[in-house]
Structures are given as C-alpha cells and as structure tokens.
Symmetry: C2
C-alpha cells in the first residue's frame, strides 16, 4: 500500500515508476482479484488495470485467460502445508491434508473451478498428489488402486471446496445486505439455508414421502458444515479400507 512512497530518495533508475511486469506478478494480481471480487469477476482487463497497464500487455506473459487461471489455481494450492509424522498416523495426516486443501481452495472463491475443466498439472498439484498417494500407500491401499483412490479424494476436495466457496459467497452477500447489527454467524447460516428449507418444506408427503419424513434431519444437515465434510471424508476412507487393503 505504501510501497511507492516508502523510499522517496530512490533514484528513478532503481525505483521504476511502476513494478515491472512479469508472469509471476500477473498471476499474483489475478489471485488477489479472485479473493477481492470473486472468480467470475476476474477479467483480463481488470487484472491489467490492477497492474497499471492495458489488457494486451498480459499476453506477453500468459497465453490466454485459461492458462492464467490454471496458474492462479496452482498458486492457491501453494498455501497448503503438508502434514508430517507429528500430526499422527497416515489416516490422521491424510484427513488433515484433505481438510487443508478444501479450506485453502474454498477460501479463494471459485478457483477450484479450474480443476473441473482441465486436470491440474502444476507443481503444487503434483506435490499434493505425491503426498496423498504416499499416505494411501502407507495405509496399505493396494498399489494398483492408489491412483484411483487419489482421484476419488481429489474429486472430493474440488467439489467440497466449491461448496465451501459458494457458502462463503452467500454469507458475504447476506452480510452486505442485512443489518450488520444482528448478522451473527448463526443467523447468517440459518438465512443461507432458508431457501433450500422452503423448497423441501413445500413438498407433499404423497409425492415425496422420504424427504418429508426426514425434514428435521435435512434442515439441520447444513448447520455444521465442517463436521459434515469431515464425516464424508471419513466415509470415503472407511470405504477404501474395507476391501482394498494390501494383504
């Protein structure tokens, strides 16, 4: 923020009027924009504007918007620290790794959308794939199934991150709209689920007996979303262990 005025005695030669462009600067600016305005609002023009240049200049450093977003995705993944032996056995470490990946990606709005269109091959994606497969192998999952298992976990991470991002976005909108006075965390998540509750609540027991019967459980299901995600991950790992362990 104060960088440009912090060293007023720099000569023009050592302090250029603006930071020089680079592939890294473009990617970092795009990630900042993802966090501030949402993935959908990240346009080449806005990234350029944030860097004090024109949109055409970006094409010196990235091929197109798709490639830029793929790099932003990998930069976001750089924020995921790998668990170590201090975090417990292989299963505890794997659960921690998946949880961190979901939290980190979900914290950068819809950046996980990138992983849906194209399979990520950036250095950080490969770093996390290596880590998860190593943990699966340590858990005794058969070698031939480790890639499939890792793929299932990755699918879970991506979709959970997008679910988290959607919830955070929804909460942000509600916080901006409603009175800030009584916008408690609880009130916000209650309001966030209310549209869904309405869709379920208006159904007839004749046509939708099970939904109607389980309505209390359905409305409370969205309450503790982190607990929900942890439970789901547990289910997947349980399933992996049931049949597919090396003898």
């Amino acid at each position: 923020m104060t960088d440009r005025t912090a060293r007023p005695r720099d000569t023009p030669r050592t302090r250029p009027a603006k930071a020089p462009l680079s592939r890294e600067a473009v990617i970092a600016a795009a990630l900042r924009l993802v966090d501030e305005t949402g993935t959908g609002a990240v346009t080449m023009r806005r990234v350029a504007q944030a860097l004090d240049t024109g949109p055409a200049s970006l094409y010196v450093y990235v091929a197109d918007r798709d490639e830029l977003m793929a790099e932003v995705y990998d930069l976001a993944l750089a924020g995921v620290r790998l668990p170590g032996p201090a975090d417990g056995d292989w299963r505890a470490q794997l659960e921690l790794l998946v949880d961190r990946a979901i939290t980190t990606l979900g914290g950068h709005d819809g950046i996980a959308l990138v992983a849906i269109t194209r399979a990520p091959t950036g250095p950080n994606a490969l770093r996390l794939l290596e880590a998860s497969m190593t943990l699966l192998r340590a858990g005794g999952i058969d070698d031939s199934l480790c890639p499939w298992a890792a793929d299932l976990l990755d699918q879970f991470v991506t979709s959970s991150a997008l679910e988290l991002a959607a919830r955070l976005r929804h909460q942000r909108v509600l916080a901006a709209t409603g009175d800030s006075a009584d916008a408690t965390e609880a009130a916000m998540s209650a309001a966030a689920g209310s549209e869904l509750d309405a869709a379920y609540g208006n159904l007839s027991p004749d046509t939708h007996p099970t939904i109607t019967a389980l309505l209390p459980a359905m409305t409370t299901a969205g309450r503790d979303s982190h607990g929900h995600a942890t439970w789901k991950l547990g289910v997947i790992i349980d399933g992996l262990l049931l049949h597919h362990r090396r003898r």
Copy 2:
C-alpha cells in the same frame, strides 16, 4: 428442418409464421444448444437466434441467464429413469440411479456446472433426491445420516458428470482434429490421456517417488473410466454401510 414447408396448405391462422415463444420453448432450445455447441457457447443471443427472435424477447420468459441454465439443468435430469425392484436390491438400484444420473448429465456437456453454483431445487432434482434417500433408508442408513449421505452421493454425481463431459469434449476435439481414418476409440482415449502421462512421466524419483513408482498404474487408471466410476461409487457405499447402519 422441413417443418416450415411440411403443411403448405395450413392457413396463417392455424400455422403461425414461427412457433410461439414460451418458457418451455426457450429452455428446450437452450438444452439443444448445450448439446450442439457446449455449455460455454450457450448465450442469450444464440438461444434467441435459434428461436428466430432477438435476445431481449427471452427476458419475458426467464429472469436471466442463470435462471435459464438452472431450468436447462432440471430438464436434462428429466431424462433419468428411476430404477425399480426389477433392477435388484436397494444397493443395485442405488448404483443404477447414480450411474444413470452421471451418464445423463455428462451427456449434456457441462450442464452439471449449474449444480455447483446453486443447489438445484427443480422438480426433477427433488424427484431424484427423494429416490436416493428412499433407497438409502431401505439400505438401513440411519435417518439422521440419510441427508448427509444423499449429499455425498450428489457431490459424486455432479463431479463425475463434469469429468465425463470433459472427457467427451476432449475426444470430440481430437476426432475433429486428427485424421478420421485411424481415430479409433482406443487411439482417442490414449491420446486424451497423453498430456497427463507426460506431466507424470517427466517427474524425478527424488522429488516424487510415489508417483514415479506407481506410474504404470497411473497411466492405465484413465483407461476404463466407467469401471473407475463404478469402483468409486462402490467405495462410497461401502463406507456408508460400515459404521452408519441402523441397528
């Protein structure tokens, strides 16, 4: 194609110059466009063009593009037939239901993207939710966990459908690019995975020992993708049964 000239003796009164617009016609035209050109290429302008009108006219029937795509999503889901007792026990039926949902959604390009941004509440989404929860309950899953289990299955359906759609799109591109002579199914899926194989193959055993060690399993993992999806679903159901069955 020949509709306009098929009944030349119709009076103008009984045969209007063009089919009258309606919400249903707009949604159906949009789904046709999804199949023909891909979800990303579905614009209000192109939908209007397909209906021989201007983009502004669509806003009489749908609030905006988001609402239109949500309706297209539910129309796509209408193509999923529910399994019945003739298809086997609850587990066989549930697996069939999930498989049909993935195949159907994945066959309409990226339409499943709609389910990521907003939780679907259309009649067909509710029909499938009712069916899956009924089957889970029949399988003995505890009432309080059925909504969570159904949510996990839904997450799996959505992400698997998008994975399938991406693969089909990739194959279509390759088929259009390469010689049609030797574009066999096998050659195409081999080429489709080759970029990923390259990303894995170039890694050093020092930095990525597990990926390198499991390389043969990784490259064959993408081969039988339907078998892969079935296996993953089996893992999830196994996990659900392990701990969460009603006593």
